[in-house]
């Protein structure tokens, strides 16, 4: 039993390692942050060296939804539908303050943050954020993916754990349990 768990954990680690270094982004670009997104993707700040090069403009082919720029209330259903159309496992990054909290907008039409409609894994503040900040956010996301802490990953893990428990006839008591216990963000000095 211990050996099987060890193998499963190693397999999960390997899968998460592969996922974090091959993110297919769906850049949902609406506003000025798109300029910084373009410069991150350009050769100088090169997001390709982290594996997240190809923008896939279809949710069916993407696993990372990057919400770049202001989201209005009118766009809410569209963004929600795009998130639902993505295949699992999927992650969401809020790029810029408008996508994180609504930014400097507080009015009748701006949604106060994209996390009102989709669960966001990493928030990258900035108006717009510098490319180095974006890459830092991407590395943060990669660490979360490696630990299995993305919202969607946790949901999938919880559902499969519940299914397994039901098959064994046991009670499933944890609502959302990740494969590893959720830990704090490790500092740079303790990098894996």
């Amino acid at each position: 039993m211990g050996a099987l768990d060890w193998m499963t954990t190693k397999l999960t680690d390997a899968t998460n390692w592969a996922r974090k270094f091959s993110l297919f982004q769906y850049p949902f670009v609406t506003a000025c942050c798109g300029m910084e997104f373009m410069s991150v993707a350009a050769p100088k700040y090169d997001i390709a060296r982290f594996g997240a090069e190809f923008p896939r403009f279809s949710p069916r082919q993407a696993d990372l939804l990057i919400i770049v720029g202001t989201i209005t209330e009118r766009q809410g259903p569209a963004l929600r539908r795009i998130y639902e159309q993505m295949a699992e496992p999927k992650w969401v990054v809020a790029f810029g303050v408008c996508a994180s909290t609504g930014g400097f907008y507080q009015n009748y039409s701006t949604m106060p943050g994209a996390d009102q409609v989709v669960p966001v894994d990493v928030y990258i503040p900035g108006c717009p954020p510098r490319p180095e900040q974006v890459l830092d956010g991407l590395i943060l996301l990669q660490e979360r993916i490696a630990r299995g802490e993305g919202h969607n990953q946790v949901t999938i893990a919880a559902e499969s754990a519940a299914r397994k428990a039901a098959k064994l006839g046991q009670e499933y008591d944890g609502p959302l349990v990740s494969i590893r216990p959720l830990g704090p963000h490790k500092a740079e000095s303790e990098s894996k």
Binding site: R60, P77, I82, E88
Partner: protein
């Protein structure tokens, strides 16, 4: 001769097998959480406007057909070019590559006939303005 076909068969097997392996891996190892939105057509998140069954301009079809014919012709030129030395030799080609026997125009004539037929076709298509875009 068997080994030629064997390598081709192995390549086909590897290609098809790889595709099947990846599909199976995605099906059995990946998460399966269907929802209604995943079946809905993708139109950047909004409701679908209009039907995908719009009329297409025939110029796309024309370009494709003309391309296909002349591409096949080009493909036929390759084996002819490889065998040209043997075809233009009235005798046999020695091991060193020299021609024993006289010069024969069989290869050249053959390809000129082949291309001539196709050039007549090209001239017709050109006159009918099907090679351009408009």
């Amino acid at each position: 001769m068997t080994s030629d076909y064997l390598s081709t068969a192995l390549m086909i097997l590897a290609g098809v097998g790889f595709a099947l392996l990846l599909t199976a891996a995605a099906r059995y190892l990946g998460p399966h959480r269907p929802n209604a939105a995943k079946d809905y057509p993708y139109e950047c998140g909004s409701e679908v406007i209009g039907s995908p069954r719009a009329r297409f301009e025939v110029k796309f079809y024309q370009v494709a057909i003309v391309f296909l014919v002349f591409d096949i012709e080009t493909a036929f030129l390759y084996p002819w070019a490889l065998k040209y030395r043997a075809l233009s030799c009235a005798g046999a080609v020695s091991a060193a590559g020299a021609c024993t026997g006289g010069v024969s125009f069989f290869g050249l004539g053959e390809i000129l006939v082949f291309m001539g037929i196709l050039i007549v076709g090209l001239a017709y298509v050109w006159r009918k303005r099907a090679v351009g875009w408009e």
